[in-house]
Point group: C2
Chain length 186, copies 2
């Protein structure tokens, strides 16, 4: 028996994305977003509500970084989603974040979040943006012996939109483009 | 030290979405998608490549369901991402799925996947769609005693885009709009 909940923005899992931008004075800002995902071959899409300082920064700089929240930095990642840089100008520092300018786009890489996408704004329509992924970088500390990202080392979190929880990723449950072979007929 | 990987569609976590549609003859189809997310207050966005039968179905029916892949149905969820309904017309049955017509939109609800969004197509531009979330339904078996979805009962999976793995959700790591209080100054 199914229950109907009406129109809800409930998806499982949802990401916890930390959006990094520079303002016109070159000051770094960061904010949390859960509404977004991969848009196409080399683009990402995000929803940023109008009131955020990030919105003005995007219009000015046409660039952003998108870091993935990690268990180790969860309080900081939550904090930058709770306060506005309009109210707390040193928000990034108050969160305990430091930044390095991206080598690829005009946006700050958050040093304490080991993996991010470096993106150039392609389109901003109302609250929805599409951005080109110019580069993805990851700290060596989250790479496996094969040089690729190991999600267990990265320890990203998912957002539970129903209960407003951050949820760790668990064990490997299956292999994509492989588990389905069981059901294939020759 | 950071390593650069170039332009990659790597996000953590990514969802594993099973898109349900009817074709013009009323036959249900399902396919797997990982590129998409919440778009705005009551909309979702998805990327569906052109070759998929789903694309024609969307144009014909202007509706879809988006179910969340679960650990219990992983082989079926992977299978519908591996074969095309253009080649296997009874793909949904071959996956072991049965469907019930949505009460809200002209699309099939997959009975074996306990939670889905029922959506009406708003915009389809090349491979990218935006759809209105008309209703979210969930089977009683995945609800907690409070009547809300319990992600541990739902057991959805995330997609690891780097290693092409399905990953279970683990334990609660924190509370959103709460953990950040630690860093607040009065």
């Amino acid at each position: 028996m199914r229950r109907d909940f009406g129109s809800k923005t409930w998806m499982y899992p949802m990401p916890v994305l930390i959006v990094g931008t520079y303002d016109e004075e070159g000051r770094a800002d960061a904010m949390t977003a859960a509404w977004g995902g991969i848009h196409n071959d080399d683009t990402v899409c995000l929803c940023i509500s109008r009131g955020h300082k990030t919105m003005g920064n995007l219009q000015a700089r046409k660039a952003l970084t998108i870091s993935f929240a990690t268990i180790g930095m969860l309080a900081a990642c939550d904090y930058v989603g709770m306060v506005s840089a309009n109210d707390v100008p040193d928000k990034v520092a108050a969160a305990g974040f430091t930044v390095t300018r991206s080598r690829f786009v005009d946006a700050p890489v958050i040093n304490e979040l080991p993996m991010c996408m470096e993106c150039r704004l392609v389109e901003l329509k109302d609250e929805n943006l599409v951005a080109r992924i110019v580069n993805v970088c990851a700290d060596e500390s989250v790479l496996g012996p094969d040089g690729l990202v190991d999600y267990k080392k990265l320890a990203p979190v998912a957002y539970d939109p129903v209960r407003h929880l951050y949820v760790a990723l668990g064990d490997v449950a299956g292999k994509a483009f492989d588990d389905g072979r069981l059901l294939m007929r020759d």
